[in-house]
Subunit: 469 residues, 2 copies
Amino acid sequence: MSTPKPSIPKGTRDFGPAVVARRNYIFGVIRRTFEKFGYAPLETPTLENLSVLTGKYGDEGDQLLFKVLNSGDFLKDVQAEDLANEDGKATRRVLPKLAEKGLRYDLTVPFARYVVMNRNTLVFPFKRYQIQPVWRADRPQRGRYREFYQCDADVVGTDSLLCEAEIVLMMCEVLNGIGLTDFTIKINHRRVLSAIYQALGGEGTEVDLFTAIDKLDKIGVAGVQKELAERGFSEEASGKLFALLSVEGSFEEKLERLQAGFVTAGVDADNATADGYKGLQELQRVFDYLRDFQFGEFNHLDFDVTLARGLSYYTGCIFEIKINNVNMGSVSGGGRYDNLTGAFGLPGVSGVGFSFGVDRLYDCLEELNLFPAAVATTTRCLVANFDAEAERAVLPALRQLREAGVASELYPEAGKLKKQLQYADQKGIPFVLLQGSEERAADQFKLKNMTTGEEKLLALEEVLAELAK
Amino acid sequence: MSTPKPSIPKGTRDFGPAVVARRNYIFGVIRRTFEKFGYAPLETPTLENLSVLTGKYGDEGDQLLFKVLNSGDFLKDVQAEDLANEDGKATRRVLPKLAEKGLRYDLTVPFARYVVMNRNTLVFPFKRYQIQPVWRADRPQRGRYREFYQCDADVVGTDSLLCEAEIVLMMCEVLNGIGLTDFTIKINHRRVLSAIYQALGGEGTEVDLFTAIDKLDKIGVAGVQKELAERGFSEEASGKLFALLSVEGSFEEKLERLQAGFVTAGVDADNATADGYKGLQELQRVFDYLRDFQFGEFNHLDFDVTLARGLSYYTGCIFEIKINNVNMGSVSGGGRYDNLTGAFGLPGVSGVGFSFGVDRLYDCLEELNLFPAAVATTTRCLVANFDAEAERAVLPALRQLREAGVASELYPEAGKLKKQLQYADQKGIPFVLLQGSEERAADQFKLKNMTTGEEKLLALEEVLAELAK
C-alpha cells in the first residue's frame, strides 16, 4: 500500500529554522519596544467560546470564524429534520448544536473579554501587549493566510492623549529598530471625518462617505466622485468634500486650514460625536506631546484627512503606517475606541491601541534586503568529527564553547570532512572548528571562517575569544 | 437586556502579565539551551489535516483530537440517513464529511510530517526544537489542560549516541538554569526491557509486562506481582523479573550485573530487536560520552531498569526526569525511535528527542519559591504625573530612560500621588521617579525605591546610572 503524501491545510505555513529566526528578530524588536513603553504581555487561549466571538466581527466575520466540533458524540442534538435546507438556514440551525468553540479571530475581542472578566483585580490604566496567531477561514491568496500573527498593544482605562503620542514613538522605534527608515505614519481623527460629513450638508450616509474616501488611494478622485454620485451625494457636496480633503501644508497648517474650513461650512461645535473642532484639538495635543518628547521624526508624520480605516469601533485618533517605495498595504494601524468592552457588559472604558502585521513587515525587509546576515542561523560553530578518538578528545572544548555562550554542535558522525563542511555551509554556520591528530598533539585547533575561507591555528582560549565576539 | 458574562472554554487559561513573564523565563532558558546545543527552531501550523493526525495516537488519541468544522456549507455532504445511529457509527460516518482539519495534538507528528515533506531540501542530521501549544479534548482536571505548551528537541538522520549524551547535558543545563538542583534523570533502554521479557521465558506478552512494570511506582512490588499473575505470568517468571529489576549499584555496576543476569537467564544475543546486550553497550557508550565531556553531575543520573515510558515508538535509550521532594510526575521525557517518519512513507530515519512540560516546571518553581523576583514585571520605572506642566517637563527624561533601555511609563493622568504609587505597587514596578516644581527648579528628580521605601534626590544622569544597573 502506498502512503499518501502528507500536506498542510491551504493558507497555513511551516516555518523552517531560517524563517523562524527572521520572524523572531522582528517579534523581538516589537516586544522590546512595547515593554520599554510599559506594556506588559498577555496571552489568551486559542479556543474561545463562540458566544464570545460571534457577532463581534460583522456577518462576514462570523462566516470566517473557524468553528471547533464539540468532542464526544457531536451529533447527539442534531435531528434529521435539522438538515432540511429549503429555507437555506440548515447550517445556521445545526451549527450551535455541533460547535460551541471557535478559534481566536483577532486579539482585540479576547482582550476586551479578559478585561471584563478581570475587571475587579486589574489595575487601571491597563497596558497590555499580545503577540499571538489568529485564524480566519478566508480564501487564501498571495500574502493572505488562514493562520497569521498579530502584534497588538492597547491601553484601556485612560483617555490621555499621551497614549496616542507614545504610539507614534513606538511605531518609529519599531520601524527604525528593524532598519525601515522610509515610512509615513498617517494620522487622522474619527471626529474630523464626522465633521466633514456634516460639512457636506447631510446627504447620503456617513458609512457611504467613508467607504468612498477609503478607496481614494485605489480609484482616484474621479472614481470617488463617481461612487459618491451613485450613493446620493450631490455634485456640490462632492465639491465641498474635495475642498476639505485637499488642505495642504505642514501638520499644524493643515489643522489650522481645516478649522477655517469647518467654520466656513458651519460645522456644529455642540454635536457631541461630530465635533470636528475637538478632533482637531486632540490632534494638536498629540503633536504638542511629541514636541515635548523632543521627537525628531516629524518628517514621518502625515495628518492625512483621507485616512478612514474602515468603520469599525474607532472613535478618536486613527493611525496607519505605509512603507514608502514598497508595493504593500499598511504594515500597522490602530486608533482610539470608547466602547470596546461594552459588548461584554462593561461600558465607558476608553482605550487606544495599534497592531503590527508581521507578515508584511517580513516581506518589506526581504524585498529591501534589510535582514541582518547574523539573523539567519542560531549555531555559531560546527566542531568537525574526524574519528572516534578525535571525537572523544574534542568534547571538553565543545563544553567550554557552550559555557562561553557560543552555540555549537559536534557533527555527530565521523565522516568525510567535505560533507561536514557542506553541512555547515548549507545551515549557514559561520565557523568550523577542527582538531586532527597533529593539532591535538600541539594542543591547538584550526578555526575555519566559512565566509572568508580563512583558517587560523589557535589555542582554545583564542578560539573562545574569537567566537565570543 | 442583560449581557451574559463572558467566559473561556473549560481547560483553557488566560495568562496575565505576571504569569507570562514567569513562563517566558522558563521558555527562555529552554530555548537558549536548545540553541546552544545546535538545535534550530521550527514552527508548524496549528491546523493540520486530519489525514495527517488520525491514526497516529491510537484510538484514544483520535477521540481526543479537536476537529475543525469545514467552512462554508459544512452540511453539503451530510444526508439524513447518515444520522441514523443504530450501528453506533453515526459520528464516525459523518465526521469525514464535516471536518478535514484538526488542531495539533503534539509536536512529534507535525515534525515527522515536516521532515517527510522537506526531505529533499533539509540538511541531515536535522536538529530542530519546537515550542508551541498543543490541544487535547481531554477531561480537564487539576494540572491537566486542553491547551498547553510542549517544548521538544529532536535530531533525526543519525544514530550517534552523542545525541543521547547531549540530551542528558541539556536536561541538566535547563534545570540548573531555572534553579532546580534536586532532580533525577532516569535512563533505560528499550532493548534492556525486551531482554528482560525474553529472560522470563516467553510467558504473557511484552506489552503486558511493560504496562505492569510502568506501575511499579504507584502499586508497588506486590501490586505488580498480582497484575502479572492475572496476565498469565508464572510465579517463577515474576521471581526472575524482580531479581533483574532489583540490581543495585552505580550506573556502571548495574550495567555489569545486568549483563551477568542476562547471561544466566540465557538471553539471546542474536535476536535483532531483543538484544539486551546491545542495549547495555549503548548505555555504556552514553556514559562514556558524558565522562569525556567532563560531565560533573553523575549524581543526577540513574540507570532505572523499571523505566518503561509507555509503549509508544521508542526503540533505544529512554529518559525521564523526576524533580525530587516535589509531588509531581515527570517534567521531561524522551527517547530514541527508529521509524518516526515511516507513517508518512519515509522509513529508516533514526532519531532521538525529548520534551519539557512547562506547566509542571512552572508548578515546581512556584512550589519551591524559585522564581527570581525580577521576573515578575517588565516595567522598571513609573514616572509620576503631577499636573499638565510637570507632565510636559518630564517627557525628555522619560525619553532618555527608554533610550537607556529602562522600561518606563508615565502615569497617563495627573492625579493623587497615592493612587499612582499604588499603581506602581500593584504592578510590581520597582522604582517611581518624581519631579515636582521644586525638583524641577533644581533640575533634579526624586527616585523612590518601592521595595525599601528609600528616596534619593538625583540628577538625571544619576537616575539613569541607578536604573540601568
